[in-house]
Symmetry: C2
Subunit: 123 residues, 2 copies
């Protein structure tokens, strides 16, 4: 079993966290059969935590998790906090595998998405 975890910062505003949950559902709808499921987890201000989602995956029989940091740039959260959360769980589950993807903003498709969105605007 392989799961996708979208790791976001989390916000004090519920609407912002809800936006992320909707994104998770939309990603899931576009993923097809490549993954068994998608969950969104938060570093701060919102639940579930990254640790709790990973533990839930592993307790449910998942063997591999791909983690996508939903951040625009590679700051402290991406470089330190998310790896620390992952390593904390892997220490307890040494036979499981977690792959940490580059942060969202590093995807080369970003420039294309922005260009297309702006080109299609008829202002």
């Amino acid at each position: 079993m392989k799961q996708l975890l979208i790791a976001a910062h989390g916000s004090r505003r519920t609407s912002s966290n809800d936006e992320l949950k909707l994104l998770g559902a939309n990603v899931s709808a576009n993923l097809g059969v490549a993954f068994d499921g998608v969950e969104v987890a938060f570093l701060e201000f919102a639940s579930p935590s990254i640790e709790s989602v990973l533990v839930g995956f592993f307790n449910g029989g998942t063997t591999k998790v791909v983690v996508l940091p939903y951040f625009l740039s590679a700051g402290h959260h991406v470089m330190n906090d998310i790896p620390r959360e992952i390593n904390k769980v892997l220490d307890q589950w040494p036979d499981k595998k977690i792959k940490l993807l580059p942060h969202f903003g590093a995807l080369h498709e970003m420039a294309i998405v922005i260009a297309e969105a702006c080109k299609n605007d008829n202002f």
Copy 2:
């Protein structure tokens, strides 16, 4: 003349701001003839400021600017700070037009980009 302004938060880390400038260049390469140019500007911690880029555009003869807030969620910066910067400039240039797009994270393509990036990963 129509220009695109990518309005980012700005970081204390130069590498992060440089990442944004590279994104601006990549967007420009994908925009074709729909815009006369693309600039990146920052709210905090980095230059150029949003105001200075807008003023530069208008002094150069630009009549219309599309502003894309490069933010993942609609927090205070998106809802208050960027509109305030824009209105400050429009007060001085009442004959110019600025269109403020929804923030980057609201683009519906986000879910598709994430799903494709993860599907193509062979972990």
